[in-house]
Symmetry: C2
Subunit: 123 residues, 2 copies
DNA sequence: CACTTTCCTGGCCATCCGGCCAGTTTCACA
DNA sequence: TGTGAAACTGGCCGGATGGCCAGGAAAGTG
């Protein structure tokens, strides 16, 4: 038993919804063997939002937009995405434009970041 | 009173490491107001692995690179980043180039995605 | 003192990106 | 049938991006 007592498990709380975050913090705040991570602290695991952060209907993404978005998140250029999906670069730009619009992003990098934050895509 | 008590928070436990998963399950198993999700059950949040996917030393990012990276993740253009950091666009490009190199990315979008995956930045 | 690292700046240029215009097809739904 | 949404394609063009070259200044280390 050199493995002396299990060290505390440090949990990062990464929840956007303040209400939910508060409730979780309260519930988890004083459990022996478990501690919430401070800002910037390294954690063994994180609690992340899994609620289908509902996307307002008017900005629901179409299947094709999701296809393009996924490839964007992989760092694909318009040209590469076009090849992957067997469509023209123009069409890719068209979908990218819609994505920037719907995700309220300034560019493709911003679009991917927003989508990831909203849980639309998983990095 | 009318605010009838907060409903249970359902947490999904998505940890690969069996040991860590077991310990967490044990710790969280009987907390009032909180319940672990069954298989397939929808959860309000999930506990995911956040193991410090260590960054090899040779790709350690400098402070300035982290500054630029953070602003990139916010969708900032080279010009905007330059203004924010009070440096020239050329210098921003220089740091972006280093980032693409170190993160093995094909472009700024890819760089941000990689950095997020590695836990270098938080989206 | 040399030496290295980090940070900084400039020019040049091919390519990519995103916004604008315009159009066609297909399919579901009223 | 017509009306709309989605997907697709094209041209055009200003600006952004990224790679290449070349340097300089400051701080820390041997």
């Amino acid at each position: 038993m050199s493995e002396d007592i299990a060290p505390e498990i440090v949990l990062a709380l990464e929840i956007d919804d303040p209400a939910l975050a508060d409730r979780l913090a309260a519930l988890l705040g004083d459990i022996a063997g478990l501690r919430l991570a401070g800002p910037g602290e390294k954690a063994a695991a994180a609690i992340v939002s899994r609620d289908p952060r509902i996307m307002p209907d008017d900005i629901a993404l179409t299947q094709r937009e999701l296809d393009v978005l996924a490839l964007m998140a992989e760092g694909g250029s318009n040209k590469m995405i076009a090849r992957q999906l067997n469509i023209s670069v123009h069409t890719v730009k068209f979908h990218v434009g819609s994505l920037l619009d719907k995700l309220d992003a300034t560019g493709r990098t911003d679009a991917v970041a927003h989508a990831a934050r909203r849980g639309v895509i998983e990095l």
